[in-house]
Amino acid sequence: MTLAISIVVAALGGLVALAAPAMGPGAGRAGRILALVAALACAALAVVTPVGDLLSVGGLRLSATPAVRLAELGWSGALVGLGLIAAALRIRPVTAPGLVALAAGLAALAADLPAVAFGGLAVGGAAAVLVPSMPRYGESRRRPTGAAAPAGVVAPATLAVLGSGLLALVLVAWARSPVGAAASGAVVAIQDVAFQSAVGLAVLAMAALVAVRLAAIPAHLWAARLVGAVSPIAIPSALAWGSAAFSIVAITWSEATLGSAGAAIDPLDHWLVILVGVGGLALGALASILHDDLEHVLGYWLIGAAGVTLLAFAAPTAAVVPWVADWTFGIAAIATGFAAWIVVVRWSFGTHRVGSLPGWARRSPGLAIGLVVLLVGSVALPGTSLWSSRASIAAAALPGAPGTIVTAGAALASLVVFGRLLLVGLARPAGDVAAAPPERIGRLVLAPRGWTGGGTGWLVRRGKAMVVANLALGLDLVVVGLCVLGLLISALGMASAGA
């Protein structure tokens, strides 16, 4: 029941907040506040939702598994943090579409019907991709949100998200049909060679849809263009959290399909998936290391991580499912912290190019702490959830030394990506970084300039002046908070959600 309340709160909060600007001049602001409150409520409900909470409605059963609780905790926390940053910087907010995507994601993860899960994820994903890209979304007199993403960028992204969900419905329908793998008393004998091939092809097709949805190489172009066109705070909901839910539902379905048919993945399919997964991991990491603008560094880092997720489809067994959950949610949580870090860096130093940021860490110790936390979380220490899941997925697909090499390579890639940024930050401040105004650097200001005491309401005026003067410090604290959340989720995984 608590889970159902969470889903309703998220869905209603998001939809009302989206519709609010159409209701009047002041309604937009009220909508943004409502969205933040709804996200906070979801985070609080995630703490009290018991594992195993069950609800049946309209032939659908929703059960709160550890993966559902972890998604709710991490995703709603991410929306709260990113929403606060958007409010402080007066940039395009993403809490409302993120809430719609959260509601769809929770329902998808909790549902026992794969068709409902994939359909819901497609709807939620479309909201997360489309809404933040629309012109004038979140715009007001005091909040000029700038140019919207071009239609040529948004349309392929929407097509990828909706198309992957739609085609997944066809696979699910086939599996449920009398000639499919999951139907009891299947018409076709299980030993039939054609049937076995069909089952293997269906799993391969599902892996291909996951590759499209996660924007794994070579289906990555829509995401690579999207990250350059939207605000960084829109990227976690659009590319990370929704994709994580999709991959979990997909791997669960694949494992169940193979199991009910008594089939195994074909060796050719096995090596094809490994080729695409390892290739995507390597090329994504390379692109992330080489790119100069921070948004593409984040985007390609996510694309590289998708390669590891794909490896799970080379050996879809029941044991792989929780590893995929830990891996994808850990990556999504780290990506959230990274996105917040990028936005605040852009605001502080007026640039998003790595080459223009020498010395950023010396000028802004708060952001430096955040990046160090991200580095530790993404590389992951042995024994943590992210490390174990990465190693287990790689070992399941590639037993022995090759799996170990893939695991080490993935960890090294994250080390290089975040380490490069840290090294640039430790150089002598120059250019945009040196010229950044002091009020945009996170430092505690106890005596705001230009403030005068006395008169009525001086305490309120003092409070407001303190908030404005310490805005940069506040932003740094929110960034560090999101980075620490990412570290905790990546380190503890589903254990943090009571698994």
Binding site: V57, G58, G59, L60, L89, I91, R92, A111, L113, A115, V116, G119, G120, A122, V123, A126, A127, L130, M134, P135, T145, G146, A147, A148, P150, A151, V154, A155, T158, L162, G165, L166, L167, L169, V170, V172, A173, W174, R176, S177, P178, V179, G180, G185, V187, V188, A189, Q191, D192, F195, G228, A229, V230, S231, E295, R346, W347, G350, T351, H352
Partner: protein, 261 residues
């Protein structure tokens, strides 16, 4: 095969052809409405009133949302590519939906804006229907008697005898798959290529409906929750297409993102 089933299939097919073959957007919308509404009745026996209500609501809501594109195109302020009625050049040749200066050429995209006309679309539809019915007839989901017979004899093949052909083709499942192939055959191209506008949006809706018909043809039964999600998908695709079609292009839609500082 019942009369209602046959009528529903006929209206679905005709409406889909009218959606993409018509040169007038109003006729296209009427055709789309007829196709989506009739597709809800391609089932035997008819589904629960709840399921039917959900399907019809989703279909009508999706079309209502698409009306926004049509309304936007007719307003003086709409900088949209698709004209409300396909224009003709001085020689009387159709210019297609883009209404651009050169006959059939979309000046913004630099390529052809497809506008095939009634006969070609109907021919593609017929080919798609034939292919879909053939596939449906080869699948043993079509009639329970075929499935039971195959199971009783221990057969591992999915073929059918010639005597069952008419029954197989005329069943709801067979017609669903046939109609799905028809919809996807005529709509896949316009849905994937062309400028973002009403025609592409309607094609996307037909593709979604086709995929839903495949789902219903294969599974034959669905829960209320699945129907709600299917209706939501239809509405979401319509809303997404409308949002993309009516957006005003930013004056500087360039490659570099705007740094929001």
């Amino acid at each position: 095969m019942t009369v209602l089933l046959l009528a529903a299939a006929l209206v679905t097919a005709t409406g889909a052809v009218a959606t993409l073959a018509a040169s007038d957007s109003r006729l296209g919308l009427v055709g789309l409405t007829a196709s989506l509404v009739a597709a809800a009745f391609v089932a035997a026996p008819l589904p629960d009133p709840t399921v039917l209500a959900v399907r019809l609501t989703g279909a009508l809501l999706a079309v209502a949302i698409l009306r926004a594109i049509d309304g936007y195109a007719t307003s003086a302020a709409g900088p949209i590519d698709d004209s409300r009625v396909a224009r003709r050049d001085p020689a009387g040749r159709l210019r297609g939906w883009s209404g651009s200066a050169d006959a059939g050429v979309d000046s913004r995209r630099g390529g052809l804006e497809p506008h095939l006309g009634w006969l070609p679309v109907a021919a593609i539809a017929a080919a798609g229907l034939a292919a879909g019915l053939s596939i449906g007839a080869r699948l043993d989901v079509v009639t329970a008697s075929s499935a039971a017979a195959a199971g009783a004899s221990g057969s591992s093949t999915v073929g059918i005898g010639p005597g069952d052909l008419a029954t197989e083709l005329g069943s709801a499942a067979g017609l669903s798959i046939g109609l799905a192939a028809l919809l996807i055959a005529i709509a896949a191209g316009p849905a994937l290529v062309g400028s973002i506008g009403l025609r592409r949006a309607m094609a996307c809706l037909l593709v979604v409906e086709g995929i839903d018909l495949i789902r219903l043809g294969l599974t034959t039964t669905a829960t209320v929750a699945e129907e709600v999600v299917a209706a939501l998908m239809l509405v979401t695709v319509a809303a997404a297409a409308t949002a993309l079609a009516v957006r005003r292009p930013a004056p500087d839609e360039a490659d570099e993102p705007v740094v929001e500082t």
